[in-house]
């Protein structure tokens, strides 16, 4: 009798989780003979094990849904920034939020590895750049986080103070200093790196001016509008290869 109850409990647990695995003798009438009973116990042990390892994995991978990490509305906006993208099912942003999170996790681990290699306890942009360079599937990012061949603090093309992403050169800096002057000492970092605008203009301005592509500081910015070609997005959208 006791065993019977145990069985039912276990089955309820499993059933409750939607596993549908606890089918073994759900209506098991009685303890019966020893052999079938043991077999049953074994089976359920197995199922329990599977159940718990599944749970562990889920805890690793699946966040509690209430902890909605990334805001769906924002994600939807980002998706729709691509004019090509029209209608999105209600489930899509949810998938994207989760995918994004997983993606960040992947990028984090790999960046951290690089920081570790360099015995640093602070993740820096160049760690992320390294992770991108090293990982094939991150190729689509290669223009977003440029790999500085020289020093980190050096060449980042600056954006305008007003934050207009498509315009270069930045206000207040004589254009002559930057345009087509590979002789510019990269180590001193001619370019000022303003806080956040930098990102929006990095690939844009690099794409704009071929002269930058040749300088040593820009060695890896080939100036292609990868966004436009690869994804079929409007080049003027985000990854401008031409000014509006």
């Amino acid at each position: 009798m006791e065993n019977n109850q145990q069985q039912q409990q276990q089955q309820q647990q499993q059933g409750g989780q939607g596993q549908g695995q606890g089918q073994s003798g759900g209506a098991y009438p009685g303890a019966g003979g020893a052999p079938p009973f043991q077999h049953l116990l074994q089976q359920q042990q197995q199922q329990l094990q599977m159940f718990w390892s599944y749970q562990r994995q889920e805890i690793e991978h699946v966040n509690d849904f209430k902890n909605h990490q990334l805001p769906l509305a924002r994600i939807k906006k980002i998706m729709k920034a691509d004019e090509d993208v029209r209608m999105i099912s209600a489930e899509a942003p949810i998938l994207f939020a989760k995918a994004c999170e997983l993606f960040i996790l992947e990028l984090t681990i790999r960046s951290w590895l690089h920081a570790e290699e360099n015995k640093r306890r602070t993740l820096q942009k160049n760690d992320i750049a390294a992770a991108i360079t090293r990982t094939d599937i991150f190729d689509f990012l290669v223009d977003i986080v440029p790999r500085d061949e020289i020093k980190d603090d050096a060449a980042l093309v600056g954006a305008t103070a007003s934050g207009v992403p498509y315009y270069y050169p930045p206000i207040g800096q004589p254009a002559g200093m930057m345009i087509g002057r590979p002789a510019v000492d990269p180590a001193t970092g001619v370019y000022v790196q303003p806080p956040s605008q930098a990102w929006q203009s990095v690939w844009q301005s690099a794409a704009e001016d071929a002269s930058y592509a040749t300088g040593p500081a820009q060695g890896n910015l080939d100036g292609q509008s990868f966004g436009g070609e690869k994804f079929g997005m409007e080049p003027t959208q985000q990854f401008a290869s031409r000014t509006e």
Partner: protein, 155 residues
């Protein structure tokens, strides 16, 4: 006129990164520089573009208008992120269950009425999609449109 690109909320990106980092190294804190965080943020944003563009292509190939879950899964394969598929499917299941639960439970009458009303008013193709009325409204709206079976869609 160039609109600034929508960014992902930095606090959330930071949280995701730091949570992971704290698991990467048991001894002491790894921190992230400001430009590092920015890099994460931007990379994630581009990832969204990359994935949606891919999913969009897949959707169009099937001559459909609305990007659905299957398109996204296929896109993950195409972009070589197949390891995301399983956890994403689990997430989706969770979401569908919760949704089903919500629908079955409270305010059914009100919701049904509201839905009928929306159907009557807003059956014009693709109209509702563009507006960002907020998550819940969006959910219901989208799921009622043309591809009615979206929420119950099997893999």
């Amino acid at each position: 006129m160039a609109a600034e690109a929508e960014e992902l909320p930095r606090a959330i990106v930071r949280r995701v990164v730091k949570d992971k980092l704290s698991r990467c190294s048991e001894d002491g804190d790894i921190s992230v520089s400001k430009d590092g965080l920015l890099a994460f943020s931007e990379s994630a944003r581009i990832f969204i573009h990359y994935l949606s563009a891919t999913a969009n292509d897949i959707c169009k190939e099937s001559k459909r208008q609305i990007i659905n879950a299957e398109d996204v899964f296929k896109a993950l394969e195409d972009t070589e992120f197949p390891e995301f598929i399983r956890p994403l499917k689990a997430s989706l299941e969770e979401f569908r269950k919760k949704n089903a639960g919500k629908k079955a439970a409270g305010s059914k009458g009100k919701e049904d009425e509201a839905r009928k009303k929306r159907k009557l008013e807003g059956e014009s193709p693709g109209k509702g999609e563009g507006s960002n009325k907020g998550e819940d409204a969006d959910k219901d709206e989208c799921s009622d449109k043309g591809e009615g079976g979206d929420d119950q869609m099997d893999e």
